[in-house]
Symmetry: C2
Subunit: 349 residues, 2 copies
């Protein structure tokens, strides 16, 4: 009689941050692939592109000129999905058609004046400057009393819907709590009220003891593949200290976060020797809604590639209708990431 083994047998895992389950099919990597093959990332870009709306000095869609900036540069998204002047209002028709007006601010952050770089190719002190901008933006946006949530994120690579290869991220701040954040709030609150400790704090301690899914750590952050990872090489950066938002990061922590991002994204690029696409973003405490002592700052990386630079994981029929599903285990992914070099493959060339 066989015994159940996470490495061998199909199983579900609980995402303790959302309360959702995911389906893991460890045996399924053997599946041959005759489906869609992505174009390899065209990686040769000039340092400056006269047609890029993010390069220093260039014209933007709204007619304004970018300054001749030297580090990173923030401006309001010319095609914001949320707007400042949305009138209040809503609809409730028999509880069947229910809608609410949404107000917000969308900003773009150019990470570097150099058109040809990405985070893994930037120097750690320059990434540190991006961390400073994130902190300053979070602080400034929180001064609008009606803003409740600030989503800091990055879409990297055109297969992640990124419409401009110039290294940049986004911030969408709005007057309500988005679905994923509401789930993480509920789960963290419940645990904190029961145990008096941070859910992620306890989780990270357990992972450090186990050393099965940890990729690396520095003085202030742990980088790991979460037990419940959905995307093939999904990772999380978690602060060792129980901090509710990046507002409270010390200088040392900001430097350590920049270092963690650098080391993780270099490993990603080295995985398939390509500019590794992903969407990443921070989760942290809502603002202007009182105290959230249970919130524990962390950053997610959701990269779609599965087998190579050109074959990604598709979250489609079963995943959309029923349940997220993955074909390799979190432990396998962590081991691969752990064994990769922290010298960028382009530097070695």
């Amino acid at each position: 009689n066989e015994t159940f083994d996470l490495k061998e047998h199909p199983h579900s895992r609980l995402n303790i941050l959302t309360g959702d389950w995911i389906l893991v099919s460890p045996h399924r990597t053997k599946r041959p692939w005759q489906g869609k093959v992505e174009a390899s990332q065209m990686d040769e870009r000039p340092e400056y592109d006269p047609n890029c709306y993010l390069c220093p000095g260039n014209k933007r869609a709204d007619g304004s000129d970018n300054p001749d900036y030297k580090a990173s540069y923030v401006f309001t998204n010319d095609y914001s999905s949320l707007l400042l002047n949305t009138p209040d209002g809503g609809l409730n028709d028999d509880e069947l058609l229910v809608a609410n007006s949404q107000r917000g601010i969308c900003r773009v952050i150019s990470f570097s004046p150099r058109h040809d770089l990405t985070l893994p190719q930037m120097e750690t002190p320059d990434i540190r400057k991006v961390v400073d901008v994130w902190q300053a933006e979070y602080q400034e946006l929180a001064t609008y009393p009606w803003i409740k949530h600030i989503q800091i994120f990055e879409n990297k690579g055109d297969i992640m819907g990124c419409s401009n290869p110039h290294p940049h991220g986004q911030i969408w701040a709005q007057n309500s709590i988005p679905v994923e954040v509401a789930k993480e709030t509920r789960q963290q609150k419940e645990y904190f009220e029961q145990k008096g400790r941070s859910l992620l704090g306890d989780y990270v301690k357990l992972e450090l003891k186990r050393q099965e899914r940890v990729i690396f750590e520095n003085d202030h952050f742990v980088v790991l593949v979460p037990f419940w990872a959905v995307w093939p090489y999904e990772t999380m950066i978690v602060s060792k200290r129980h901090i509710t938002s990046l507002l409270y990061f010390t200088d040392e922590e900001k430097a350590a976060l920049a270092e963690a991002i650098k080391r993780l994204t270099v490993r990603y690029d080295n995985m398939f020797e390509t500019s590794f696409p992903y969407s990443s973003g921070m989760h942290q405490s809502p603002v202007n809604m009182g105290d959230h002592p249970y919130w524990h700052w962390h950053m997610h990386f959701y990269p779609p590639l599965l087998r190579s630079a050109t074959v990604k994981k598709f979250m489609v029929g079963y995943e959309m209708l029923a349940n997220p599903q993955r074909d390799i285990t979190a432990e396998f992914a962590a081991e691969k990431l752990r064994n990769l070099s922290e010298v960028h493959y382009k530097v070695k060339e």
Copy 2:
């Protein structure tokens, strides 16, 4: 002072089936696109492909031969993500690492012996035969007492992760209730217990009165863009009768469902004169878990294309980390679909 208008202003809408919210940005269609452009679907395929593992008479990955089938053909997926013989078991480490063994059966349904067809190109009586197979499979799989949920779905097009263009769908049956189905169960149950009526029944009546999001109806089904649609041209087929699963479809209803699928998918293909990609699937009552009188059978279509045959909507950074977001309203999408011809563009040529 402007008044709030669903057609103009950013807002959130409630998905009454899941309880989740989505963000709608009606003004955002004006955004120029410099991002990823998909290859146009290569649409010229032979009636028979000697290398296809679904064509009649061909060899499959497991070494067996397909019969010389004439209508549709069902077999166990050679790369099943769920397996029949998974040993029972689980893991619970301090409620932080939580996993359960999963058991299941994955099947593939070839819709037609013809390699070059898709549902919109098949004749309605042949689609009707597919509906018969779905019903028979659902019935047969429900005879395994440990099976709790049966997901019938289709991934169409390589941008939906479909690895073989031969027209086919899948069924994944398993010993637990997937996340999305659990949400729909909860919402339908709550409404039914409060009002004594089907949530979707009431919703469809309201939509038929409004005629803003209905695309068409026949004697037994209504086809509409749900108020809370996430994907640009997302639709739903809902049975007029309150039926818990396709097990109870009458002959007339099965014919009407085939007709509805034909008419909807032809409109989809005509939208951008391309083989319109989507993932689709049915939601219906779980099995072997007692009565679910609140469940109301329906079928979802999640198509990714946004602006053209080559530009899709990306559900990435903000959507993954925070909240699904769309750039056109459900009403706009319904109007476009309503105005399309029901004669396939390839027939007209």
